[in-house]
Amino acid sequence: MVWRLVSYTTVLIPPEPYKAMYAAGIVENDKGERRVARIPAEYVDVLGMGMRGELRREESVFGEIWVFIPEAEPQQPRVVVVTGGAGGIGSEIARVFAEHGFKVALADINLEAAERVAGEIRSRGGIAVAVEMDVTSPESVSEGFSKIYSSLGRIKVLVNNAGVTIDSTLEKMTPEKWRKVIDVNLTGAYLCSREALKYMAYGGVIVNISSLIGLSGNIGQSNYAAAKSGLAGLTYSLAKELARRGIRVFAVAPGLVESGPTLKLWKHNRSLIADYVARLPIPRLIKPREVAELIYFLASNEAINGVVIPIDLGARIEPPRA
């Protein structure tokens, strides 16, 4: 039986208990019978009067309803934005999403380095753009996202990956060191999430890169630990707040990853890293690809929301010392 849409709307402020935004419409068949039906949110942008489709009966804990599936391709943008996209983990996240057919935007304060990663992805047949972005500056963030939207369209996934460390024990922790780390790691994630929301499609995902340090703390990293722990709070809050817009928010908390900051430390104090690694149940460093693949996997799973997932070779059961 073919049904036609004779009126429709999007419920942007869903009442309790439905919470997440959806569309609804009135459909009519050739006999003039009408039904009121839910329409999955991914069709919001493609609905039109008279649109044909099929009607299904669906059950939920709240009751049984009609669901109208239009004969149209649902709008599913496959665009990921990775902040700090030029770095070790960031670039790997971009590569993994690109391999899965995502268009990639690499936002980084170092445009040249971001361009190199974008070029590399393009050379393998992917679509990638590099955008200069200082995540601590509202203007720069706003400008960057506007550029990303105009070149790639609506955003599906934002990965708040940009981060810095400026380690110092409390006595030597100047307000500048404190603020810089909080600004980039935590405030940057808030600014980028706020801006991305304007361009995010229904079904969007925000991923925050927290850290094992944010969960366990570390000597000499109080600023970094506070910021990364703050990302957990940001994750929990936004997961609740944005659910009604169909946006999921989660974080991953990696242990020591084979990337920029670790490799720097490796050069300066190899025994510190060796000592840390030796105490891990699986004694090695985490590969950026392992983090990137976890993020892709979690972003693809629609039941994942409001959690901080550690990826740490078992470090949480054997906490590190400095």
Binding site: V11, I13, P15, K19, A24, I26, R35, R38
Partner: protein, 382 residues
């Protein structure tokens, strides 16, 4: 002929400091005090309380409570619930009870304390219960059901969002003159168009607010005993449509309002041309435009033209919602219909202050429930 002999209303507010029962008390005592020649509580033999949901006010069984505030334990009392038309239904009932000789003087009081709901999404869930079961399960709050009607109407008659905006602009402007109104802020068409969508094509400023308030009137069979200038209920009607928008033959109409107004015109011997003003149920801007057509002010599809031509503005030929309407005066559900009757009482007696409509002699009120599944129309004359 039954007439209204006294009226009272609290201001409509977004968050009243009064509890629901305190609003009720104020409205019961206020309307008794306002009787010019005085009335003894024992002369009021029936109290009808209009209230939508205990999930807003936190009380049920408000009839006997109203009697306590009235001070007449020997009267009878009950609560009516007919979604947003609870108040109009109460007046309709009072009119009939008096006409039938079953009551001498009926006190009709409506109240709602919507700010009791913890969030607007909970308030919308409570309100949504007035839809059809199918709409409730699909998750269509009022604004979404009205959006579905608006979409059909706008498509059929080529009406735009800027036409809908005119209702909001007009009613906000009217509310500036009403000390009882919740919103006292002039808005422009651009303000309305810039407000965020809640369910396209409806935006935030197309919607009436959540309100707290109470209103009351006394309908009497011996009006001259209580005032020299009663306002007579000269005609009334009540009619229904199918509960769900999707079930209706014409989804761009509100047939219940059409039928109720036909009954009211017939029983009063009056026509739309005789009216000096109207208070209508503009819960959403689209509703006022459709009502113009249902009530016989405009032909089908011609509602928006009355706005563009300023016919229904304060200085127009037929001012509609001079009080600010539900849109700007506010919409404390149970109080709304009773408040419309109180407004007509003041207007037709020339007591409406700054918002007084010139030479107002005959007025109409339309109060409906849900998306128009129940409509009450009452015509009054001084």
């Amino acid at each position: 002929m039954p007439a209204i002999v006294s009226a009272f209303s609290t201001p409509y507010e977004s968050r009243s400091s009064l509890e629901a029962w305190e609003l009720l008390e104020k409205a019961v005592r206020g309307v008794v005090e306002n009787v010019e020649k005085g009335i003894d509580p024992s002369e009021i033999d029936l109290v009808i309380v209009a209230n939508f949901s205990d999930r807003f006010g936190g009380i049920l069984h408000s009839g006997p409570l109203a009697l306590r505030y009235l001070g007449n334990p020997d009267a009878r009392a009950f609560r009516v619930e007919n979604a947003c038309s609870a108040g109009g239904t109460g007046i309709f009932l009072a009119w009939n009870m008096v006409r039938a000789g079953l009551a001498r003087n009926v006190l009709v009081v409506g109240f709602e304390k919507m700010s009791k709901a913890p969030t607007s999404t909970v308030a919308n869930q409570v309100l949504m219960a007035a839809g059809s079961p199918e709409e409730i399960l699909v998750g269509l709050p009022f604004f979404a059901s009205y959006a579905l009607m608006a979409k059909v109407y706008m498509d059929k008659y080529g009406v735009g969002e800027e036409d809908l905006a005119l209702v909001a602009v007009k009613n906000h402007e009217n509310a500036l003159r009403n000390p009882l109104a919740q919103f006292k802020r002039r808005i422009s068409v651009e303000d309305v168009l810039r407000s965020p969508y809640v369910a396209p094509p409806l935006k935030l400023y197309d919607c009436s607010p959540l309100s707290d308030g109470a209103a009351s009137v006394i309908v009497s069979g011996e009006p001259k005993r209580y005032t020299d200038t009663p306002v007579y209920i000269v005609g009334a009607g009540m009619a229904h449509d199918k509960p769900g928008v999707f079930e209706r033959d014409d989804m761009a109409a509100m047939i219940a309002a059409y039928k109720a107004s036909q009954q009211a015109y017939k029983s009063s011997g009056l026509t739309p041309k005789d009216l000096d003003l109207a208070e209508v149920h503009d819960a959403f801007t689209i509703s006022e435009i459709i009502l113009y057509e249902m009530l016989g002010f405009a032909e089908r599809g011609g509602g928006a033209r009355l706005l563009r031509d300023h016919v229904t503005w304060f200085d127009g030929e037929l001012p509609v919602n001079a009080s600010g309407g539900l849109k700007a005066k506010g919409h404390p559900i149970g109080a709304t219909g009773v408040g419309m009757a109180a407004e007509l009482f003041w207007q037709l007696r020339g007591e409406a202050g700054e918002r007084q409509v010139r030479d107002a002699e005959i007025g109409l009120m339309e109060n409906h429930g849900g998306t128009g599944a129940t409509s009450v129309v009452i015509v009054m004359r001084r």
